[in-house]
């Protein structure tokens, strides 16, 4: 028998076209959280880098944004629960097989650290002994937050991928890079908006590196998953991801070319933030779309079965 590459079957059978797996019931709160969680992580890293290299504007903007994004994240997460008053049930267990449980603890730890760092920004306004005490606490919190930040930025990719949602699960190798890159780019965006040109060079480099990671990851997700890439290229998710890519390109170009202009820098920063937001919503909605059509469940599973049968025959 001749070996032929598997051709995806154009037709498939289903039960009255009804979905097989259930789409996530999460509202756009969760898509928004993907953005704010990443923003908190990127900003915390910006703050730590800024403080370590003597750039107070980056430190201040990073610390304050990290706390703001963290508060927004907490709101989105609690608001999305079916029983918001039971949010603390998340703290009953720590469960390694549940990315959401791990994320709860990552976010809680990060929250304490980033909170301390942001409150320390108010030290000069406080009476001296208290202010003196707060400074070192803030610095410690800032570095602890920066160490926790990569986990905060990437666990959300595992959260989405560890589901039966076909296009999220298939994207698991690259999704963490999309989210890490997106978090870096949004953190860099904050730096570009807040810092004067003499301080903003690291933010520009962060923007370029973050954009590169995000674009690489998104390109792989949109092209290398066969039929499961489709939901990311069509309809609203496709539009959102294309918008994200365009805004990332614009923001990065602006960050590189507009380094003397405060206005161009700020606009570039805003473009990077908008890009991150669009990308997160695109990935979120692409996954939902893949769960709503039984094609994306049946066809890849049939291919997998056919491959296994062929291997069985040969082996």
């Amino acid at each position: 028998m001749k070996d032929r590459p598997m051709v995806p079957r154009a037709d498939f059978r289903s039960y009255y076209g009804r979905p097989i797996v259930r789409p996530a019931v999460w509202h756009h709160d969760i898509a928004a959280y993907l953005f704010t969680g990443g923003l908190a992580a990127g900003s915390a890293m910006l703050a730590a880098g800024g403080d370590a290299t003597g750039r107070p504007a980056l430190r201040r903007a990073g610390r304050v944004t990290a706390l703001g994004a963290l508060v927004a994240s907490t709101y989105f997460l609690v608001n999305d629960l079916g029983r918001p008053e039971r949010f603390h049930h998340m703290l009953r267990v720590a469960k390694p097989t549940s990315p959401m449980s791990m994320g709860t603890w990552i976010l809680s730890g990060f929250g304490a650290f980033a909170g301390a760092a942001a409150v320390a920004e108010a030290a000069p306004l406080l009476p001296r002994p208290l202010g003196r005490l707060l400074g070192p606490v803030g610095t410690a919190g800032q570095y602890a937050a920066a160490v926790t930040a990569p986990a905060l930025a990437t666990y959300t990719a595992v959260l989405l991928a560890d589901t039966a949602t076909p296009s999220w699960h298939a994207a698991y190798p690259e999704l963490p890079f999309v989210f890490a890159g997106s978090a870096l780019a949004s953190g860099a965006g904050v730096g570009l908006i807040a810092a004067p040109p003499r301080e903003s060079a690291p933010a520009r480099r962060m923007a370029v590196l973050g954009a590169a990671m995000e674009l690489y990851g998104a390109h792989r997700v949109e092209t290398s998953k066969g039929i499961l890439s489709e939901p990311y290229t069509q309809g609203r998710p496709g539009k959102l991801l294309r918008a994200g890519r365009t805004l990332t390109a614009l923001g990065t170009a602006g960050a590189l070319l507009g380094r003397r202009s405060r206005v161009v820098s700020a606009l570039s920063g805003a473009a990077l933030l908008a890009a991150s937001l669009a990308t997160r919503f695109g990935i979120f909605e692409g996954g939902i779309a893949s769960a709503e059509d039984p094609k994306y469940t049946v066809v890849p599973q049939r291919e997998r079965l056919a491959q296994r049968q062929q291997q069985h025959k040969q082996g």
Binding site: S14, Y15, L209, V298
Partner: protein
Amino acid sequence: MGANSLYGPLDPAPDAGYVDAPPRMGFFTDTSVCIGCKACEVACKEWNGVPDDGFNLLGHSYDNTGGLSANSWRAVAFIEQPAVVPAGPVDALAEAAAGRSDALAEAGCGGAGTTREPEFLGMPGTDLPGRTPDAPRTDFRWLMMSNVCKHCTHAGCLDVCPTGALFRTEFGTVVVQEDVCNGCGYCIPACPYGVIDQRKDDGRAWKCTLCYDRIGDGLTPACAQACPTQSIQYGELDELRARAAERVEKLKDQGARLYGHDPDDGVGGDGAFFLLLDEPEVYGLPPDPIVATRDLPAMWKRAGLAGLAMAAAVAVSFLGGRR
């Protein structure tokens, strides 16, 4: 955690920490004898106090339930398929007299017929009136299946639940504790069968409990108890598997196949498995489900790599020059 805690064959109750766990209990749903009466749906609702699912006309044959949901823990699927009947009418009574006990089932399902010429014995036939060997009528076959939570060996819903609301019982089944669930919704996309669901006006996740409150007292789950044809069979999983192997052997000429019985499948085998007469996707079941958690170690590895790349990117950004 054992070697197969995330994937592969496993006895789930001892793996979950039960000492001296009772035998694993489950359902074998034999769709070849389902008559679509929906007694299982009704019994489940009555026993478990499950609210109505809306009263809709879906246009999906006789299925107005529309599959499993937070408010339907048993759901009967109806599929009307064209089927070519055998050339001659099958006289079930004559077949039975000749010692073929499966004739009735075969006649009902439009399977392999007999080549023998019919003989009129002066008895009422089981065939359609007016059908003669020289004027065969096209017929359809009606597939019916009572779907239910699979109580997987490796349950995606249970793996991802962040509150511990979902737990493994001593019988190897998977149950939600309604006083713990906070409605995070993670279990819902995690189920490879699309079973567990959020109740809209309540916010929490609900699904079949395999009547945990009945089986603990030695009773049969409500659906199996109410099933008039024993299409739904409840018992020790090992026994059910043996029974199913025999049954599928008998019906293999009619395209019967087992679904969810294999401990080597993508979810480590189901606690509730089926005998089907067509491909799983025809009934709304995934043809080759896998538990997403199988890939969890690989996923965390990729996330760790991305996190390191992120830290390296920040370091490079800040160690560079002033420009």
